[in-house]
């Protein structure tokens, strides 16, 4: 009898696995060929000195790329810049996205209109955004004229390394929040109205409903928003490239990890070293994501 149960169990497990892999098969195939394979190639390169042009040549160098990385000041400066950036931008954009989505989901008049307006920063092209921000941030720009008008000190927002990164941060929060707002809006739609009605009957006010009903139910999506925020900001590239014309200056103030990788891969074709830096970055992101997954609690994950 027991044996039969066990066989049954194994049988159902196999059946379920077959179904699971059925659902996953196309995805796994595409990811294997176009994502995992290139990554494996990059892993291979991280242990080589590579000559790609004019006939590909490899020379195994063991951990030399990683040793070089440990001794490279610019890597640690870039990492510090990037970490500071992540620490400010991710919480800000997550909270902003959540506020925008909840407000626009609460039945304000003319919702469609607001939603379209608030979505605009995400679709405005980064070239246009940068141009506008340069125009606002330059020493005689809009921001300084406003600050001077209300008698506050003015800054050289673009030129001054102390503030250059902050300018990029504000721009990034503003332009990324709508992206996550769209996701939060969708998640809010999927919360059944009946749950709120039950809460209302229990005498919960609007704030309590948000805090005890909405937020916990949004947890899985918040995990996504934070994780993607971390990945996106750790991979910051465009803005710092445009602001510094690719150099990462002044004095490395706008240097980010991916800008560094770009400098090595595309300009100098030092694929091996660039791959080593990329894996340092990936290891950091994965560690933080796992930590975050653990913080978010196991029950929401399974």
């Amino acid at each position: 009898m027991r044996l039969q149960n066990r066989q049954k169990y194994i049988h159902s497990l196999l059946r379920e696995s077959a179904i699971g892999y059925g659902f996953m098969a196309p995805t796994l195939l595409v990811l294997a060929v176009f994502v995992v394979l290139p990554i494996l190639y990059a892993v291979f390169l991280a242990f080589q000195k590579v000559q790609l042009l004019g006939g590909i040549e490899y020379e195994f160098v063991g951990l030399r790329n990683f040793a070089r990385l440990m001794a490279d000041d610019r890597v640690w400066i870039a990492l510090r810049n990037t970490a500071e950036y992540v620490a400010i931008v991710v919480p800000s954009q997550t909270v902003l996205a959540l506020i925008l989505a909840t407000t626009l989901n609460a039945g304000v008049r003319g919702q469609t209109g607001w939603r379209i307006l608030y979505f605009l920063p995400t679709i405005t092209s980064s070239a246009v955004l940068t141009l506008i921000f340069m125009w606002i941030y330059n020493t005689n720009g809009l921001l300084n004229q406003f600050l001077a008008f209300i008698r506050l000190p003015t800054y050289n927002w673009i030129g001054d390394p102390a503030v250059a990164l902050k300018g990029i941060m504000i721009m990034n929060i503003w332009s990324t929040a709508p992206f996550f707002m769209v996701i939060y809006l969708a998640a809010l739609q999927e919360i059944p109205q009946s749950i709120y009605e039950a809460a209302k009957i229990d005498g919960a006010n609007a704030w309590q409903q948000f805090w005890y009903v909405t937020l916990p139910l949004l947890k899985p999506v918040t995990f996504f928003v934070v994780a993607m925020g971390i990945i996106g900001t750790f991979q910051l590239f465009d803005q710092s490239y445009i602001f510094s014309n690719g150099s990462g200056g002044p004095n490395n103030a706008t240097l980010t990890i991916v800008l560094l990788i770009y400098q090595y891969v595309f300009r100098d074709l030092q694929m091996g070293y660039a791959a080593a830096i990329a894996f340092l970055l990936a290891a950091i992101i994965i560690t933080i994501t796992l930590l975050q997954q653990w913080l978010f609690g196991k029950q929401t994950m399974n």
């Binding site: 497990l13 179904i19 699971g20 059925g22 659902f23 996953m24 196309p26 995805t27 595409v30 990811l31 060929v33 176009f34 994502v35 290139p38 190639y41 990059a42 790609l52 039945g107 304000v108 008049r109 469609t112 607001w114 379209i116 307006l117 608030y118 979505f119 605009l120 920063p121 679709i123 405005t124 070239a127 246009v128 955004l129 141009l131 506008i132 503003w174 769209v182 996701i183 969708a186 998640a187 739609q189 999927e190 709120y196 899985p220 999506v221 996504f224 994780a227 993607m228 750790f234 590239f237 991916v258 891969v265 595309f266 660039a274 990329a278 894996f279 970055l281 990936a282 994965i286 994950m301």
Partner: protein
């Protein structure tokens, strides 16, 4: 909303309006600039409305001999990528969230892990793979690698985690196969998530620049961002064309967003009338 006092409502709408100004002004500024000649954009005077209104920038762009071809390429690629992603990401996300199978945790971890590797280091290997397949300069080279997306598999998984179990169990009792359950029960209920995904995937594919610039080199095969990139001179930035081009990129995405927004709104009015 009805519980809010009048002054609370006023403050709410004031804040909504202030934020809307912050999002709208750059957009309107770009829109306005797209109707200005370059001389007016780079001149020092700041006028919000064009002083010398011109359609020349749009005319220049539309009269590119290959403009329609680029538009067509972009539409074909972005539409196919979006449809494939909607189906495949949702299937994978559903499996990772709801099905029990051997190695599930591993695959989820792998999908998170690949997101952490920056595209800059995988671009050259990816190029070499596409070349091996003979897919450079082709639609399949643009579509197949992009037909699934780890980000949105992750997103769909997070959405399906809270999905009510009872519905699936009922479906199983009714004799539906897992795929039928997924197709007839789960997907229709995931409309808001699918909508969000559709908008964001379309936008990503529509704006994609890094991959096409490397793998598409026949002007006939260019996508819009690639084709219009030729207006960025080496020494001179033709802001007038860049602005007009950015409007041409932006409007389809905005249209799709406005169109799909009906799905968000629909259920709101439904729940609203109920409450």
């Amino acid at each position: 909303m009805s519980q809010l006092r009048f002054w609370q409502q006023s403050i709410l709408y004031l804040l909504l309006t202030l934020y809307a100004i912050l999002t709208l002004i750059p957009f309107l500024w770009a829109l306005s600039a797209s109707f200005k000649p370059l001389s007016e954009i780079v001149s020092d005077s700041i006028h919000f409305l064009p002083q010398q209104f011109t359609l020349e920038n749009y005319h220049q762009i539309f009269s590119q001999p290959l403009f329609l071809r680029w538009l067509l390429n972009s539409v074909i690629i972005a539409t196919s990528v979006t449809l494939l992603n909607l189906l495949l990401n949702s299937m994978a996300g559903y499996a990772l969230a709801r099905l029990q199978f051997f190695g599930k945790q591993f695959w989820f971890f792998l999908i998170l892990a690949v997101l952490a590797v920056p595209a800059q280091v995988t671009l050259i290997p990816m190029f070499l793979i596409l070349k091996t397949f003979g897919w450079l300069n082709s639609y399949q080279g643009m579509i197949v690698p992009a037909m699934v997306n780890a980000t949105f598999i992750f997103l769909m998984r997070q959405f399906f985690i809270n999905f009510p179990k009872e519905l699936e169990e009922a479906a199983t009792l009714d004799g539906l196969t897992p795929f039928q359950t997924f197709w007839h029960i789960v997907l229709p209920l995931a409309k808001p998530a699918l909508t969000a995904q559709a908008i964001l995937v379309f936008m990503g594919s529509w704006n994609n620049f890094l991959l096409p610039v490397v793998i598409l080199f026949d002007p006939e095969m260019f996508t819009l961002p690639l084709g219009l990139n030729t207006f960025k001179g080496q020494y001179i930035s033709y802001w007038n064309y860049i602005m007009a081009a950015s409007m041409i990129f932006t409007l389809p995405v905005l249209g799709i967003y406005a169109f799909f927004n009906r799905y968000f709104i629909q259920s709101v009015t439904f729940t609203g009338s109920k409450g």
